[in-house]
Amino acid sequence: MSMIFGVPLAVLSGQLLIGIINGAFYALLSLGLAVIFGLLKIINFAHGAMYMLGALTTVLMFDYLGVNYWVALLLAPLLVGAFGVAIEYFLLRRIAGQDHIYSLLLTFGVALIISGVLVNWFGVSGLRYTMPDMFKGGVNLGFMFMPYYRAWVIVAALVVCFATWFVIEKTKLGAYLRAGTEDSQLMQGFGINVPLLISLTYGFGVALAAFAGVLAAPIYSVTPVMGSATLITVFAVVVIGGMGSIGGAIITGILMGVIEGLTKTFYPPASSAIIFLVMVLVLMFRPSGLFGKEA
């Protein structure tokens, strides 16, 4: 078997694949954070909880209602997105004029409530979600075995990321969004319903997290606490990439997943810490982040 730096090629490419998949999740999640940050100027600490809700809804809808994977892929983000709109409308809006620190703390409190309540209902041991039949098995690429589902996750995440980028950068709605980022008061003056735009933006960012959750349901263990550790890693990814650009968030997410996968192959003990170490390096040598514009 061919070896690269003393590691069998199959092992290396296997870890790389896992890295790319993790990276796809980082990309989706940091993209949602970036979208929300753009208009609301807050970091959504409930983002991990929304990701978890996406996965949990998928499992529950299947177990109790027999809703299949494809419907869940559409329905779960919609439900969680609507939940997000409600949170924005009933909670975040009330403190809109205050220091952004308060809205950040508010989302943190919301996350505590959501995961705390669900832990009581479902415990912390993982729920199982059976993979749809059509995704069972995989294809041998010659140098590695590629499970169908993992290939699908990568494709789906990339398509959604690209679509989001396209909507924000190339469409009229996206132009409103970007204008709102620059000066929401002026936009209001032009007759655009900014409060509605804000609600929808929060809902959309949260729906992206839920979409990632649905993708994650068949391959990760679904628990009420699955979001929190992931979210902290995503924060590090966001600090590394900076939230200045949508494209930057996507590229950084995948890059960090790959680096994590490589670390797992060559020096496993550091694999959980590597992204945070990269963050430290970035802060030392390029404090505004790889794609950041802000100080």
């Binding site: 909670l91 996350a111 505590l112 409530i113 959501i114 705390g116 924060f235 945070f276 430290v280 802060l283």
Partner: protein, 331 residues
């Protein structure tokens, strides 16, 4: 109508009122001190010490959050570093007197705090919170994987030992008065810092950082110093906590703990001196009461609810709202 007003009279009146207020404050402080001294005869001392340790933790956090306006989401790292360092030294070097162990733990947290500060002040606002959270997670991973911390099991049976080589801290009363003395000293230190010119600059940074910069202050240096002092005191709280409970565990390093100290400060009243103390007392009590009753599994969501409620309805916290009320109705 136009009565001639003698400025000397006004001055005298102001001085008198000031003196009266000072007397009131002195009396209040005296009563509080007496209560604290008598408390261990009425309430279980270990519980009181828990409150004092968390109160110190929150006071330390508030120096950074409430007075400088920097939201650190990583203060658990300092609490845990203080605790683990002290625990490790006291467990493995039996000749070491307890205060040396505590000082060493505080120093370790100070060093870590300096590292955190130098990295995190490179980003502002929301990024600052994320950077501190991520750095604390790095520290958490370190503690999980290190041998000396006992990993998931934690560090048990840390000897309380003797203070200065002759005061037996195994005795809960001795331990309590030691913790109380350290707490009061730190509280007075923070009070002094906040009132000093240095503290005024911190407040200026909180209110309007660009203006502080334009006035010629080296803002970054002030921020780092505030961060380091805050981290040191948080480490001291952790060190004492590990001695009191003879235990140091991963709980102290978890992000959950960083969130809890934010809650304590917020509920009590950020930016007030007494607020974090009240907040810590409140949160520790709530957690204890809940853990005894039927709601024992609902601590997290209830804390989350308090978080949301505080942010929505009374952002000034308990002490802040009382101050407002007093000013409005009695002032």
């Amino acid at each position: 109508m136009n009565q001639p007003v003698n400025s000397a009279d006004i001055h005298k009146a102001i001085v008198q009122e000031q003196a009266a207020q000072d007397r009131k404050k002195m009396m209040l402080n005296g009563v509080l001190l007496l209560l604290l001294l008598a408390a261990p005869f009425m309430i279980y001392p270990v519980f009181l010490m828990k409150i004092l340790c968390f109160a110190l933790f929150a006071v330390a956090f508030n120096l950074l959050f409430g007075f400088t306006g920097l939201l650190s989401f990583g203060h658990a790292a300092f609490l845990a570093t203080g605790g683990y360092t002290t625990g490790y030294l006291l467990s493995n070097y039996s000749g070491l007197s307890t205060e040396m162990g505590i000082i060493a733990g505080t120093l370790a947290a100070t060093v870590l705090g300096t590292g955190f500060a130098l990295l995190s002040i490179r980003r502002q606002g929301i990024y600052f919170a994320m950077v501190t959270l991520a750095l604390a997670q790095l520290v958490f991973f370190f503690f999980v994987q290190s041998e000396f911390t006992g990993g998931e099991d934690g560090m048990h049976g840390i000897p309380r030992g003797e203070l200065l080589g002759f005061i037996n801290l195994e005795d809960n009363l001795n331990m309590y008065y030691f913790v109380l003395a350290v707490f009061i000293a730190c509280y007075l230190l923070v009070q002094r810092i906040v009132g000093s010119p240095f503290g005024q600059v911190l407040k200026a940074i909180k209110q309007n950082e660009p203006r502080a910069v334009s006035l010629g202050y080296n803002v970054d240096r002030y921020k780092v110093l505030a961060f380091v002092i805050s981290a040191a005191l948080a480490g001291l709280a952790g060190s004492m906590k590990s001695v009191v409970f003879q235990l140091a565990s991963l709980n102290d390093a978890h992000w959950h703990m960083s969130g809890e100290v934010i809650l304590m400060t917020l509920v009590g009243g950020m930016g007030t001196l007494l607020g974090p103390v009240v907040g810590a007392t409140f949160v520790v009590n709530i957690e204890y009461q809940l853990s005894q009753g039927a709601l024992r599994d609902w601590v997290d969501p209830i804390l989350g609810g308090i978080f949301v409620l505080t942010v929505l309805a009374f952002r000034s916290g308990i002490v802040g709202e009382i101050q407002k009320f007093v000013k409005k109705n009695l002032g």
